[in-house]
């Protein structure tokens, strides 16, 4: 199945996309012959336990999950499988979180922290690793990001190859029409956040671009 693992709705202050519009736009993509089975909302520096997209997911035939994108001292990290326990241990609102602490706490709470757009100039994990930072228990990073600028993809690929990491894909959509530009193709079905974490840890996935999802 194809899931976009990195999207922002208007809950993030720099997005102009409503969640319902994302869902409707997947219909446009499907009519054009592309495949998208769902998406994960990764709002900046927040996680709302009470937000429930199950009705929208059911009516639109999509998997709609929740995660978060956090600011750390090693760049941005996408966090999947957020639990109340993790929220009690890590202040999501902090800019410049200790990345090693975040990764360890995510591991301990049944979540997973995945470096976002690691090739990004200035703030990507690639630069910190070049300066000698260790990866710790990080085994998955975002390989394809829909907002990558020229040169950033090459850096992400180099980081992944040199450290034998696995790579996800996400659009980093801040506009409706950007959703699905990059996605992650999973071998197994995923119905909720716990299953997403399980599959990310199992490693049976690969990053794809929207063009890779056309049938036939």
């Amino acid at each position: 199945m194809f899931l976009d693992l990195h999207t922002h709705s208007v809950a993030s202050d720099d997005s102009r996309a409503e969640v319902g519009q994302f869902a409707r736009w997947t219909g446009v993509l499907r009519r054009k012959g592309y495949r998208i089975d769902g998406f994960v909302l990764t709002e900046h520096r927040q996680f709302d336990l009470d937000k429930d997209y199950s009705a929208l997911a059911k009516s639109s035939g999509l998997i709609i999950l929740k995660g978060s994108e956090l600011d750390t001292d090693r760049g941005h990290f996408l966090v999947y499988g957020v639990t109340e326990e993790l929220l009690s241990r890590v202040d999501f609102t902090v800019v410049g979180l200790d990345a090693a602490h975040l990764v360890a706490e995510a591991d301990a709470c049944g979540a997973i922290a995945v470096p976002a757009h690691p090739g990004r100039f200035g703030i990507g994990l690639y630069e910190y690793v070049e300066q000698g930072a260790g990866l710790g228990s990080i085994s998955v990073v975002e390989r394809l990001n829909g907002s990558n600028r020229p040169g950033e993809q090459e850096r992400a690929d180099a980081l992944i190859e040199s450290h034998a990491l696995r790579g996800t894909g996400g659009s980093d959509a801040h506009l409706v029409s950007a959703i699905g530009a990059c996605m992650t193709s999973f071998d197994n079905d995923i119905a909720d956040e716990a299953e997403l974490v399980r599959e990310l840890r199992a490693g049976a996935f690969r990053a794809v671009r929207l063009e890779d999802t056309t049938q036939g």
Binding site: R16, R24, V28, R31, L175, V176
Partner: protein, 145 residues
């Protein structure tokens, strides 16, 4: 701009608007800043040295001027389109004298408060395809009959 007006029924989700290709010259920015008024010059908008002193690579197009450019995506689409709201996010600075591509895409259509309405993503890209300015436009358009 098309000579004939477009109607609500003519537009579908996924329709593309534009692109408009242009660049903004330093002279145009100076004229804009003069009309804009109430600024101390030289500034990061008109003077490369003042811009560099602020850590910028060169003089930049003012945000208000970028907004005006973004509005042209809709106002230049068809004489029947009325731009109701333009909600912009400035992601990167816009340089002078560089090729820019302005484009939109219809992402939603419906009737709101009895008025046919469209929503469009709008964006400004540089020559490498990097989105410098993004946003959402809310547009009203007449229905046939």
């Amino acid at each position: 701009m098309p000579n004939s007006p477009l109607y609500f029924e003519d537009v579908e989700m996924g329709d593309e608007v534009g692109p408009i290709e242009r660049s903004v010259t330093t002279g145009q920015v100076r004229e804009f800043v003069q009309v804009w008024g109430a600024r101390s010059e030289p500034s990061r908008f008109t003077d490369p040295d003042a811009a560099k002193a602020e850590g910028l690579p060169g003089a930049i197009v003012p945000g208000a001027m970028s907004m005006a450019l973004m509005s042209q995506i809709i106002t230049g689409w068809s004489p029947s389109m009325v731009l109701r709201k333009l909600d912009i996010v400035f992601r990167q600075t816009v340089p002078h004298n560089a090729p820019l591509k302005l484009q939109g895409i219809v992402t939603d259509k419906g009737v709101v408060d009895g008025r046919p309405q469209l929503e469009c993503d709008v964006f400004m890209e540089d020559a490498e395809g990097t989105r410098l300015v993004i946003g959402k436009a809310t547009v009203t358009v007449p229905a046939r009959g």
